[in-house]
Assembly symmetry: C2
Homo-oligomer: 354 residues x 2
């Protein structure tokens, strides 16, 4: 993880946009260019010289300890913070400033004769090109996710609370080095038709359909993996849904290659579910970039068209969500490689009746 | 927890502001008026009739299951979502609309002849008046925080990683019903001079000064508690700092009463540290409201003046942070009562050498 190289990749992007300065105010953009874990501040990235990292006074010592290759500037938090950032920007006399955070746009409008632009996609696009060390961290995060699902599956039985299962999954992952679970979604029964996190607790029953989606965070990098199940005994219709999800997910995995258009991929998933008799349900995203959190490309019906690049790390996150009945999802993390997807998450997909 | 009563308290505020509609787009404001855990959407609160909760299609079922006293409207996520909210607002023909989220201001500017205002403090001020059931949840969250600190203290010893201690604290709290730790800050050694969360891991050594700040979340309500320590053996200067923090914190606790001006309180804390020889360090907040997360009043040097009200629940969060040396903090949760503060967090403050 070499912040100098990262800056070296940012600077041509600034140059071709005609900007002298990029202001990164959002985490993990500040982390990406400094390696300062959990330090929030405003990072001024010029076309030359060291970046200047403006942080609250109380964070100066920890920023100096953790941040690489930048000058740390401490200022009082509050209104003074904004003024200091503006003074720093003025001092660089830029004619065009880009930034990652729209809320800074208004604050900078007092700068005379300076063109301003909100361009959060610049650091996001850089992060798509993963370094070998980043790929290692993502492989490790995926291994931890495998163990998280294993712990969840071991805990699921009739009568147990969802919260207990979530805790066992988190405990197992953190014992393996996950800093925390960025998220654990466990939806069961008819509530499994809801694809997102819902912490309203629920006791698991025999016959419940459900899925568990674990998100360990290993040295900042996220694993993201989902497996689905039925508790005890499955009905024919439940098995039909589980089989459809598995088939469509494996077809989607097989599509992953450099050059794949994300709309084409998303559409193929929807058609797969229609053919299987589970079409027309409310859409959820079908994948997203993975790194220091969820990232571009964000693949969803009606979303921005994107094209997978060699070395992208993405999730293949395929689910069907049937209101009143339940839902299921299978999600793997993959590296987009020339020879086909390198699948990082390996927990079996055929262990569906727990 | 009666959402009807909550609406009944909001409506006079709308009336006196001359507004017919409040648009709550932020969590936990939506939760507060619906009790729909983890459902994100846009809640339209009119001066009469049932609130309308506009949520993404895929969240309709869970919103209908969890939300009380409102009509759930499902719309496709994306641009259509915004349009649907605007159409709903137009249909109510308001002359003045207030909202909790500045990002909706721009989107609403197409509404002709409608006055718009961003007033996030309206729901925040309502939440200060805690209901008896909310106080019970906060008492329970504080008890869980006590046990979290106890588990952390039991795990701290030379050679252990901070991440291991954080995990034991979280595991203990979740076994007692915490849905998750909203946060656990554990800063040791010279990094204890940093008051905020820093997940960069560190192995704890004999002689380290440090503090642990645990934030369990019990049925949505947060406990928030800090205790400080030295590992193994303390130097005279470390004990001096620990004693000063304890003395200033107890003085601050003694000030808590209805009518207290928050600036006066914050200033007294700073003077206390100056008198103890630990003045002039970068300030951190010295307390904040507590409920569904951190809340108003937010007490910090240079912050907005506020006055404590009977029934407020606040933290008394007193620390000194000495760059290059280390820091310490003690934090309790208290209910502001006529007879003096009702302190909810009870873990002893004199167990400082572990």
């Amino acid at each position: 993880m070499n912040v100098k190289q990262r800056l070296g990749r940012l600077r041509p992007l600034l140059e071709s946009a005609g900007a002298e300065l990029y202001v990164a105010a959002r985490y993990p953009n500040t982390y990406y260019f400094t390696l300062a874990v959990d330090v929030h501040g405003c990072l001024l990235l010029g076309r030359d010289g060291s970046p200047r990292f403006v942080v609250p006074d109380r964070a100066v010592a920890v920023a100096e300890e953790l941040a690489e290759g930048c000058e740390v500037v401490g200022v009082p938090w509050g209104v003074g913070f904004e003024e200091e950032v503006l003074a720093e920007v003025k001092g660089l006399r830029p004619s065009c400033v880009l930034m990652d955070d729209a809320s800074w746009l208004g604050r900078m409008q007092g700068l005379r004769d300076v063109k301003l632009g909100v361009r959060p996609e610049l650091p996001a696009s850089l992060r798509r090109g993963k370094e070998p060390e980043e790929l290692e961290l993502l492989r490790r995060a995926a291994e931890i996710a495998d163990r998280g699902v294993e712990a969840a599956f071991a805990a699921i039985r009739p009568g147990v609370w969802q919260s207990e299962v979530r805790l066992e999954a988190e405990y197992a992952m953190r014992r393996l080095g996950s800093e925390e679970a960025a998220f654990i979604v466990l939806n069961t029964g008819s509530r499994s038709a809801y694809p997102d996190i819902c912490r309203a607790d629920r006791r698991i029953s025999r016959g419940d359909l459900g899925f568990v989606d674990v998100g360990p965070r290993y040295r900042g990098y996220i694993g993201d993996m989902t497996r689905c199940f039925v508790v005890g005994e499955a009905t024919a219709r439940q098995l039909e849904l589980l089989n459809a999800v598995r088939r469509v997910q494996e077809e989607a995995l097989g599509m992953i290659r450099p050059g794949l258009r994300t709309r084409e991929y998303d559409l193929a998933v929807r058609r797969g579910f229609e053919a299987a008799g589970f079409g027309g349900n409310p859409p959820h995203h079908t994948g997203h970039g993975l790194g220091l959190g969820e990232d571009v490309p964000y693949i969803v019906a009606g979303g921005v068209e994107d094209i997978l690049q060699l070395g992208d790390v993405v999730t293949v996150e395929i689910g069907a969500y049937v209101r009143g009945f339940g839902g299921a999802r299978i999600e793997d993390d993959v590296i987009v490689a020339e020879a086909g997807p390198e699948v990082l998450t390996r927990f079996p997909k055929d262990r569906v009746v727990l």
